[in-house]
């Protein structure tokens, strides 16, 4: 961090999250370290959702009654908030989806059906990386299968960084789309996406960034990043489940064909044919997740009020602390970058030859919630020659004391397995 920001008042923040005061297994305080899977929700988000249902519930963009107008204003207001949060040049570039997975599927689907300029077809190349989440792998497998395009990928290094030594041979004139993760949910790596985007620009390829793990944890400016599409998901950023975002450059969204068909996404329908609405509605068929959008808007307000630079700084401090703490535990091997540089507070590790399932279960018995398994990034886990990892992932409300609880928990695991 080059700029200094005031430290977070974590004790006050924690009071906003009702779930953080519960206990598990009797009287164990909950130590929630599974934020990369999903975040907890502050009272402000829960209240916004309840208030919406209690006072303004109606369908959006249809009807002239007061409730319909209020609901529409709230839903579209959430779009404004999200657009401002990621510095989108236009609110019409913010498409609401179900989650990141749907956002990325949308892009993969419409690229297979696009007009000649953007269409991915036989002989074209799709580029991803070895550290992708399954939701940024499978849609491209499907697109390649449908179209006869070829899938290529960047490898990753022993230290959990992207290997860009073959940048110019992986991304070539044949590349139509590069889709990559901004921050890895398995390794915690912050990828140097600027380099990849610059190369993609040289060859005229589109770029989709999976920002599921970056937008919640650091300031993200889509205009400055320079990608064509950015996907993220509400539930990992204090919002509810059931709402995600696809940001896309407006001219692209205008040119690409729609994804799903139905109400809301049309201009006019006759029995013979349909014409389509302008973005973003073109990509939002059917009644959208209205309450969820309202909740996401409240989450964005909350994050903005706390301050994304302050959140990133707090988590950077936690990253340094947890890396240091874990590397002093005998038997722990960190899977991912060993230092806090270009890295977030998501730490995967193995613990001697104790299976992650056993580690996770015994940590849970002590109130420490972590995730175990392949984290929907199986190719990357296999790359490190292991079947699974234990992952501790942090957010704005986590403390160093919780890192200490993790370390103490591991000592207990060691005791049982001797």
């Amino acid at each position: 961090m080059t700029t200094t920001v005031a430290p977070l008042d974590v004790e006050t923040i924690r009071k906003d999250f009702p779930i953080l005061s519960r206990t598990v297994h009797g009287d164990r305080p909950l130590v929630y370290l599974d934020n990369a899977a999903t975040s907890q929700k502050p009272r402000q988000v829960l209240d916004a959702i309840v208030r919406y249902y209690e006072t303004s519930n109606a369908n959006v963009h249809r009807g002239v009654h007061s409730l319909a107008e209020e609901a529409t204003a709230l839903y579209e207001g959430a779009r404004d908030k999200v657009a401002a949060f990621v510095n989108a040049p236009s609110r019409d570039e913010v498409v609401f989806t179900k989650n990141s997975s749907e956002a990325m599927n949308l892009v993969a689907r419409v690229l297979g059906e696009a007009g000649p300029g953007y269409r991915v077809g036989a002989g074209d190349e799709i580029v991803i990386t070895e550290m992708e989440h399954h939701s940024n792998i499978v849609p491209w497998h499907q697109l390649a299968e449908r179209t006869g395009a070829t899938l290529k990928w960047f490898r990753i290094t022993d230290e959990g960084r992207l290997d860009l030594s073959d940048l110019d041979s992986v991304i070539t004139e044949r590349t139509k789309i590069v889709s990559m993760v901004h921050v890895s949910n398995l390794l915690g790596t912050i990828n140097p996406v600027e380099r990849v985007i610059a190369r993609a620009r040289e060859v005229g390829a589109l770029v989709l960034l999976d920002a599921s793990q970056s937008v919640p944890h650091m300031p993200v400016d889509v205009a400055a990043l320079g990608a064509d599409f950015v996907a993220f998901t509400g539930h990992k950023m204090l919002g509810p489940t059931g709402i995600g975002v696809l940001w896309g450059r407006l001219p692209l969204l205008q040119e690409l064909p729609p994804f799903l068909g139905g109400g809301e996404m049309i201009a006019a329908v006759t029995m013979e044919r349909s014409t389509y609405a302008e973005p973003p509605h073109k990509f939002e068929a059917g009644t959208p997740p209205i309450a969820e959008a309202v909740g996401l808007g409240a989450a964005v307000d909350y994050l903005t009020a706390v301050g994304m630079p302050a959140i990133a700084a707090h988590e950077h401090g936690l990253t340094e602390y947890v890396l240091e703490a874990l590397s002093s535990v005998e038997g722990v091997r960190i899977v991912g970058p060993p230092t806090a540089q270009d890295r977030v507070a998501e730490v995967s590790f193995t613990f001697g030859d104790i299976h992650p399932h056993d580690v996770g279960q015994l940590l849970d018995a002590q109130g420490v919630a972590v995730r175990v398994g392949h984290h929907c990034a199986r190719p990357a886990v296999l790359r490190y020659g292991i079947p699974a990892t234990t992952r501790a992932s942090f957010y704005l409300y986590n403390t160093r004391a919780e890192v200490d609880a993790l370390v103490a928990g591991l000592a207990q695991v060691r005791k049982v397995f001797g």
Partner: protein, 147 residues
């Protein structure tokens, strides 16, 4: 809930000192089972001699629950008639799928009763059954071939 109700001494003993481990010849059928959510896997062979389970041998990797339950399995079925072995298997499956409500019969399940605690952890039931699914599959292959 006390975690010791799951990680009993018996389970840890079987995990650290597994019985019957290693793949052996001769055998009549082999089955490979994997739990896709966690990557636990087991390869298990059975040899059947005149309707009796002659030998069960296996290799695998995974959590203590999956590996220990396979070790217990070899104790419970080796030397038994195929019918007895399958009855024991049914009792084991019923216990771990019973959400903690099935009282296990120690005469039938012996060390297997240690897995009763697993029933309270739905995410781990599949681990406890991995080896047993391989056994069931291998036996049905032997019987299929005999028919």
């Amino acid at each position: 809930m006390n975690i010791e109700s799951m990680y009993q001494e018996i389970i840890l003993d079987h995990y650290k000192n597994p019985h019957g481990r290693g793949l052996r010849d001769p055998y009549d059928a082999e089955s490979f089972q994997v739990n896709p959510t966690c990557g636990d896997e087991v390869t298990l062979r059975v040899a059947v001699e005149q309707d009796r389970i002659g030998d069960v041998s296996y290799e695998g990797q995974g959590c203590s629950i999956s590996q220990a339950s396979t070790s217990v399995l070899t104790d419970l079925v080796t030397g038994r008639s195929v019918d007895e072995a399958l009855t024991t298997m049914d009792a084991f499956v019923e216990m771990v799928q019973g959400r903690g409500k099935v009282e296990p019969d120690e005469d039938v399940l012996e060390d297997g009763v240690a897995f009763a605690g697993v029933a309270k952890y739905p995410a781990r039931v599949k681990c406890a059954l991995l080896g047993w699914m391989a056994f069931k599959d291998a036996v049905s292959r032997v019987e299929g071939a005999a028919r």
